[in-house]
Symmetry: C2
Subunit: 194 residues, 2 copies
């Protein structure tokens, strides 16, 4: 899941740990829990990882980097503003449904990073929030988006999108395409008729 080819033991540890961190939260998961799930003794994990936080760092930065790269591509494109917002929604749905556990950790467990990683991560997060907000501000200025406070829009929409991997379940009888279409309608067109 985390890597398509040659899944190393380290990758396997990261993947099992991600599933546990998602369920119980980083702090409530012990190295023993991870080792049990991987099928070794806790001490053996240290042949593949440096520390418990090493795992968290790998997950948070790998997915934050992937997200930021794609978001920047959208921001710098020549598409109209509503199209850009639609693309950001699609990006969140794609990432959030393909690597649910890892995305949840990137979004909600990063606070357990220690310095200097914590500051680096917070700077990345703040930076992409600004990128998103600038798109909204531009849309309002150009008159293609309603005059809603851009800060409120940014946080409200990002909150909704970041939480997708928590509840989406392909057993629920909806496809990823359904998810993309419905969320775009909700956010761009609103719930109410007329």
């Amino acid at each position: 899941m985390l890597q398509l080819a040659k899944k190393s033991k380290r990758d396997n540890i990261t993947e099992q740990a991600a599933a546990l961190f998602k369920e119980r939260g980083y702090s409530a998961v012990s190295m023993n829990d991870i080792a049990d799930k991987v099928g070794v003794k806790a001490a053996s994990l240290y042949n593949h990882i440096k520390s418990k936080e090493d795992i968290l760092q790998e997950i948070c930065f790998r997915f934050a980097h992937e997200y930021v790269t794609q978001l920047n591509g959208i921001a710098q494109s020549e598409h109209p503003i509503p199209h850009k917002i639609a693309a950001i929604i699609d990006l969140h749905v794609t990432l959030g449904t393909q690597n649910a556990a890892a995305i949840i950790i990137t979004n909600y467990e990063w606070k357990h990073l220690s310095e200097p990683y914590l500051s680096d991560f917070k700077a990345m997060r703040k930076s992409y929030e600004k990128t998103f907000m600038d798109i909204i501000t531009e849309g309002v200025a150009k008159g293609v988006l309603k005059n809603i406070n851009p800060t409120i829009v940014m946080f409200t929409v990002l909150s909704a999108l970041r939480w997708i991997p928590f509840w989406y379940n392909d057993q629920r009888g909806m496809t990823i395409e359904d998810l993309k279409t419905n969320i775009k309608t909700l956010i761009l067109k609103g719930l109410e008729i007329e």
Copy 2:
């Protein structure tokens, strides 16, 4: 904050603990951390609380109960569907800005409850999600809401609303009234113009 009159020592412990749980997560906060913040030794806390989880239970159930009571009032009212959705948005804004730490814990730290509290809490949560979804389903059936998948609407809107206490900050130059108005426009009318 948690209670207006006669703030007992127990209430003070709960309030200080809530602030720590919000910042670091329930599992990463020790009884020593709470005691330090309250200004006593950890052992002394046990004169006022039964256990660490006792604090979590009090926070989760107090606010879940308050929320459910008010949500049921809205659901059973005779107002039109869009008005009910607006009232639910207002309810989240009011609760989320008045008791930010406690609401965050109720929304995101309840998974650390043990049985039978965990099952009780999950049942309450599922029940109010259904209440909200029934309102959306009725609105779609009556033709006053767009034909968007009610499950997707319910989770997307609730995710956005539950996260408000995480980012709202009255220093940001927006009032609670701004928050209510802007989020209602976003969700009911959508971002895009025409």
